[in-house]
C-alpha cells in the first residue's frame, strides 16, 4: 500500500517545484520511497533506518555520531506507519518500539542501496578507483603541479592528491630549496608519518651507513619499509641537490601493472606471489635505538575481493629466514624472479631536478635509482618524508565536499 500525502493548500505556491513522494512498507521490514517521475523506488532496510535514527536521543549532533543504545537494540524492529512530506522533503517513520524517526529525502538518496549509487560513492568519495600504467605510458599519466599552487590553492591540492590516488605518482615543481619543504607539504595534507628512521629523512651518500639507501650504489627497485605491517603509504622526495654525474636517476614501476601482467599471462606465478608468505626485515639502530622489524606477507597482497592492497619488494630487506615448507621455496623463487624481471623491463627512468618533489604511492609503486658518483664536487641531497593514505584520503574527502567533485 502506497501512502501518499499531497501538499496542503497553504503551501500551494511550492507545488510546481515539489515532486510527489510515495512511501510504503514492503515485506513488513523494508521501506520503499518513490519520488514522482522516478522509475525505481529506493529501498531501505527498516533495521538499518532505525539504527540510523537522527533524533537527539539516537544521534549526537556535534560529534556527528550514533549514540543509540545498542545494548538494548532489537533487530526485530519493524516500521509501523510512514508519512511523507513533500514540502519539507522528509519521510517520517513510526516504529514498533513506538519510537519516531524522520529522514530527509537527500539524506536517504545519499545512502541509497542501489548498486550503481554505491559504486559511485565508493569510487568518487571513499577512495578513487586506481588506473594502472606501464612504463611506456609514464609521460601520459604523470601529472605536474606547481608547489606554490599546491600550497596556496585548495583546488590544486585536491588535484594533486586525486592524481596521486589514481595513478600512484605525481610531481611537484619549483619548490624552494630549503629543508622545510617536505614538512610544509605534509602539513598541508595532515601530518608526517613517523617511522623507525624518524620523521624527515635525508638521502645522501653516507659511508658506513646502516641502511642500503644511504649508499651511492645503484638502488634496485623496491618498496620502502615492507617490514612494517603498517607500511608508510606515500613517499615525498624533495630534490635539493642533484648530482651532475650521469647516475642518480629515479626509476619507477607500477607494481599493480606488473601484477596485472602476471595475473593475465602467468597465473601460477601470480597465485604463488599472492599466497606465499615472505619474511621482510630490517635490523639496525637509529639515534642509538636498536630495532628488529619483521613483517610476514606475500609479495602481492589481495583483499577478500581479489583487489590489490599492497606490493612488497626489497632485495636487501627480505629476511634470510624464510618460513615456508621446503617444497614452496624453488617455485616461489622462479615466480619472484619473473616478477622482478618484468618490473625491471617496465621501469621508467627520469632524473629529478633541484626544486622537484616526487610523490608516489609506496603501497603500489616500486622505485629505485641508478648509481652515481658521489664526491664533494658531485653531491646529491634528497629530503624525504612519508604520508599515510588514511590521512590523504580524509583530506581529499574534505576538499571534495567543500569544492565539489565528489559525493558525500
Amino acid at each position: 500500500m502506497w501512502v501518499q500525502r499531497f501538499l496542503s493548500r497553504s503551501a500551494g505556491q511550492l507545488k510546481t517545484f515539489s515532486r510527489q513522494i510515495s512511501v510504503r512498507i514492503v515485506n513488513e521490514t523494508n521501506i520503499e520511497v518513490l519520488e514522482e517521475n522516478d522509475r525505481k523506488p529506493l529501498t531501505f532496510p527498516g533495521v538499518w533506518l532505525r539504527d540510523n535514527c537522527l533524533c537527539e536521543d539516537c544521534f549526537h549532533g556535534s560529534s556527528k555520531s550514533r549514540k543509540l543504545d545498542w545494548d538494548n537494540f532489537d533487530t526485530r524492529i519493524r516500521p509501523v506507519t510512514l508519512e511523507a512530506n513533500e514540502v519539507t522533503k522528509e519521510v517520517k517513520v513510526k516504529w514498533s518500539d513506538s519510537h519516531e524517526s524522520s529522514f530527509s529525502l537527500d539524506w536517504l538518496k545519499e545512502r541509497s542501496f542501489q548498486k550503481e549509487r554505491q559504486k559511485d560513492y565508493l569510487r568518487e568519495f571513499y577512495r578513487p578507483a586506481t588506473k594502472h600504467w606501464s612504463g611506456a605510458e609514464f609521460q601520459e599519466i604523470a601529472r605536474h603541479f606547481s608547489y606554490e599552487e599546491v600550497m596556496s590553492q585548495d583546488s590544486v591540492l585536491m588535484q594533486w592528491l586525486q592524481a596521486l590516488a589514481v595513478y600512484g605518482v605525481a610531481l611537484l615543481r619549483n619548490a624552494p630549496l630549503d629543508e622545510g619543504v617536505v614538512r610544509r607539504l605534509a602539513e598541508r595534507v595532515g601530518f608526517i608519518r613517523r617511522t623507525t628512521y624518524g620523521e624527515e629523512f635525508v638521502v645522501q651518500a653516507k659511508p658506513g651507513a646502516q641502511n642500503f639507501a644511504y649508499l651511492s650504489l645503484p638502488l634496485p627497485l623496491h618498496t620502502d619499509l615492507p617490514y612494517y605491517e603498517y607500511k608508510p603509504s606515500v613517499n615525498i622526495l624533495h630534490c635539493v641537490v642533484q648530482t651532475d654525474s650521469p647516475g642518480g636517476s629515479n626509476m619507477l614501476v607500477d607494481g599493480f601493472h606488473i601484477a596485472d601482467i602476471l595475473r593475465r599471462d602467468h597465473p601460477e606465478d601470480f597465485e604463488r606471489l599472492c599466497r606465499v608468505v615472505v619474511d621482510w626485515n630490517d635490523i639496525g639502530s637509529e639515534d642509538g635505538r636498536e630495532f628488529h622489524n619483521i613483517w610476514r606477507a606475500p609479495v602481492i597482497c589481495l583483499d577478500a575481493e581479489g583487489r590489490y592492497t599492497r606490493v612488497n619488494h626489497s632485495v636487501p630487506q627480505r629476511d634470510s629466514h624464510f618460513n615456508v615448507p621446503l617444497a614452496e621455496v624453488l617455485p616461489w623463487y622462479e615466480s619472484y624472479a619473473r616478477f622482478v624481471r618484468l618490473a625491471i623491463a617496465d621501469s621508467h627512468a627520469f632524473k629529478t631536478r633541484p626544486g622537484d618533489v616526487l610523490t608516489f604511492n609506496n603501497i603500489r609503486l616500486l622505485h629505485g635509482r641508478t648509481g652515481y658518483d658521489d664526491s664533494e664536487q658531485n653531491p646529491r641531497y634528497i629530503v624525504g618524508a612519508y604520508l599515510d593514505w588514511d590521512i590523504i584520503y580524509s583530506r581529499l574527502r574534505v576538499l571534495k565536499k567543500r569544492l565539489g567533485g565528489g559525493k558525500i
Binding site: P45, V47, W48, D51, N52, H60, S62, S63, K64, S65, W70, D71, T75, F113, Q118, Y121, L122, Y126, G190, R194, T196, G208, A209, N211, L219, P220, Y228, Y230, R275, V277, D279, R289, E290, F291, H292, N293, I294, W295, A304, V315, P316, R318, S320, H321, F322, N323, V324, P325, L326, A327, V329, L330, Y333, A337, D388, D390, S394, R395, V398, K401
Partner: protein, 405 residues
Amino acid sequence: MTQADRRDLVSLPLESALLQEQDQPRLVWVQDPDRQDMQFPDIWLRDNCRCKECFLPQTLSRLPQLWNSLDTSVRVHRQSVDAAQEILYIEWSDGHASQYPFSWLRERDFSSANRRRYLREFYRPEQKLWSGRDFEEIRKVFCYQELISCDSALQQWLLHLATFGVALVKNAPLEMDVLRRLSNRVGFMRRTTYGEEFSVRAQPGASNYAYLAAPLPLHTDMPYFEYLPGVTMLHTLEQSASPGGVNLLTDAFYVAEVMRERYPEQFRVLCQTPVDWADIGSEGDLQFHNIWRAPVINLDAEGRCVRINHSIPQRDSHFSVPLEQVRPWYEAMATFVGLAHEHSSGFKTTPGDVLTFDNLRLVHGRTGYDDTDRNVRHILGAFVDWDIVYSLLRVLRRASSPDAP
C-alpha cells in the same frame, strides 16, 4: 680453512630421487651431529650467500645485484663440510663460492618444528585468548618505575601485552608526560588525527563521543583507519569518586572464536560483510573525514583473527552492501555485542594507573559517570604501534638470550 679440513659429504640420497621426480625442489642436505639432518633449497642458499659480494654486514642485508638477473637454475657444483668448525661450503655452477656456519643454518632450518618455534618465540608471541570470567587470572600488574629503569621488566610487560592483549601499569607519577616517557621507552607514539596525546574528560559540545560523561559502550579505537592504532595506553590522572567511570574490557578474539564455534553462519557474516567506519570532524585546524571499509571480524589467509572493528558511534550511516546483506549483518552484530558484554570484565583504575591494551583485539568501554566540578575524571591517552612494540621485544629478547636470532 684449508682444503684438508673439509669433509666431502656422503653422496646425497636425494640426488637419485631428484632424477625421478624433476618437480622436486633441489635440496642440500646437511648432517648435523647434534640433531636431525637439515635440508635447504639450493636457490635459497645461493640467494643468502654471506660473502662480501652478496651480503653487506654493516646493514645486515643482502646486496641486490644478483637479483638484477637472478638465475634460478643455478646448481650446487660441489659441496663439503668442515665438521670441526661446523661450516658448510658450496661451490656453485655460476662459479661463485659460499660458506655457511651451522649455527646460522640451524636458526633457518626449514623443518616445520623449527619454523613454528621461530614464529612463536621470535616473530610474534602466540596469543592466549580469555573470557571476562578468567580476567583475574590473566591480569598482571607492572610497576611504572621498573618499566622505565629495567629492561627485563619492560620485556615482560610487552610480552604480556602481546600474549593477553592487556596489562596494567601501576604507580606512575601524576604528571602529564608519563605516556610520552613510556612510549619513548618502547619507541615512539603513533600520531593520529587527534594528535599524539589525547585527554579524555567530559567536555560539553565535544566533537568526539568519548569526551562525554555518558556511558561509553564497548568499542575499538579508530576503526575508521586502515592502519588502526595498535596499542592504547590510558593514564588515569583523576578518577571520578562517583560509582561510574568503570573500565570495561573484552577479548574480542575470544568472542569471535565463540561465534565461530556456536554461530558459524553469523561468524561468516561478520567476517565477510564490509562495514563503513567513519569519523567526521576537526581537531585544531585540521578537518577530517575518515572512512575505512572493513568487516567487524578480520581474518588472515589462515583464518586467524587479526583485527576487530567495533564502534557504534563511528559506524557510518552509509552502508555500502547489497540490500539483502543488511538484516543478516544486524542480527550477527547483535549476537556479537551480546557476547562481548557477556565476556567483559570491569574494574576501575585509580590515579597513577596506566592501562595498556591491544586495540586490534580488545574492545573497551566505560560506564557512565557523574561529572561535576567536585567529581572529575581525567584520563590521558596515547597509542603505540605493534610494529614498534614487536621490534623492541625482539631486540630485548636478543639482548637477554644470546642464542636468539
